[in-house]
Amino acid sequence: MSNKTSIFITTNKLDLQSCYDFVQGSACGGISVFVGTVRNSTNSKEVKFLDFSGYEPMAIKEMKKIADRAIEEFDIHKIAIHHALGKLNIGEIPVIITVSSAHRKAAFEACQFAIDTLKETVPIWKKEYFSDGEVWVNAHP
C-alpha cells in the first residue's frame, strides 16, 4: 500500500503542494485537505509559539498504520500525512493531511478519521509557550 500512502516527518516547513500532488490523479473526483495551523491563544491566553517533539521512528510507524487503515476502511485512492517538528510560530503548519477519492464522502470521512486518530495515537508532543511560562499540552488532568 506504500504507493498509495505518503508519510513524512520533518523539522523543515511542510509543503502543501507536494501533499496535494501526491494524492492527485485522473481517477479522482475530489481531494480533501486538512491543514493544522498554530492558533494564537489557548483558553483566551495568548500563545507565543509551539514546540513539537516526537519519537520519530515510532511516529512514522503509527502514521503509516493510520494511512493503511484509511485505505482499507474508506473508498479512497491515496492519502498523505505529513507532520512538522520543532518550533512553530502562530499561523505556521504542524500537520497536513490530503486524501483523494472518486467521490467526496470517502475523502472527507477518511481525512477526519486520519486527523482524529493521529491526535490519539501518534507519539508527538507539543509544548505551548506563553509570556509567563510553558505547558505540555494534554499532560495533566
Binding site: Y55, E120, I124
Partner: protein
C-alpha cells in the same frame, strides 16, 4: 535479570531530567510492573493524566513481558496535530 533501555518523551523528560536511562529489572517483568517501578523511581509521573509504554516502537499491553535489550519508551498523553 533483564536489561532494558528506557526513553522519555514530552513532559516525562522534564520530570525525569533526562532523555534515556538504562534499567535492570527482574526476569519476567511485565509492563504493568515496570510502570509501578517507574512511578516508584520517579513519583512525579503520578501527576500525569496517564502514560503509555511502547516496546521496540510499538504500544505495549500491560501483560507483555520484557525481554533483554528491549527499548522501552514512556509515552505521556500525545498532543500532535
Amino acid at each position: 535479570m533483564t536489561h532494558i533501555q528506557v526513553l522519555f518523551f514530552g513532559i516525562t523528560t522534564d520530570i525525569v531530567g533526562e532523555n534515556s536511562t538504562s534499567l535492570t529489572v527482574e526476569s519476567n517483568t511485565s509492563i504493568k510492573i515496570l510502570k509501578s517501578k517507574l512511578i516508584q523511581k520517579y513519583p512525579s509521573l503520578k501527576n500525569l493524566n496517564e502514560f503509555a509504554i511502547a516496546v521496540n516502537e510499538e504500544y505495549a499491553e500491560n501483560d507483555l513481558i520484557l525481554k533483554d535489550n528491549d527499548v522501552v519508551a514512556v509515552i505521556p498523553p500525545v498532543s500532535g496535530g
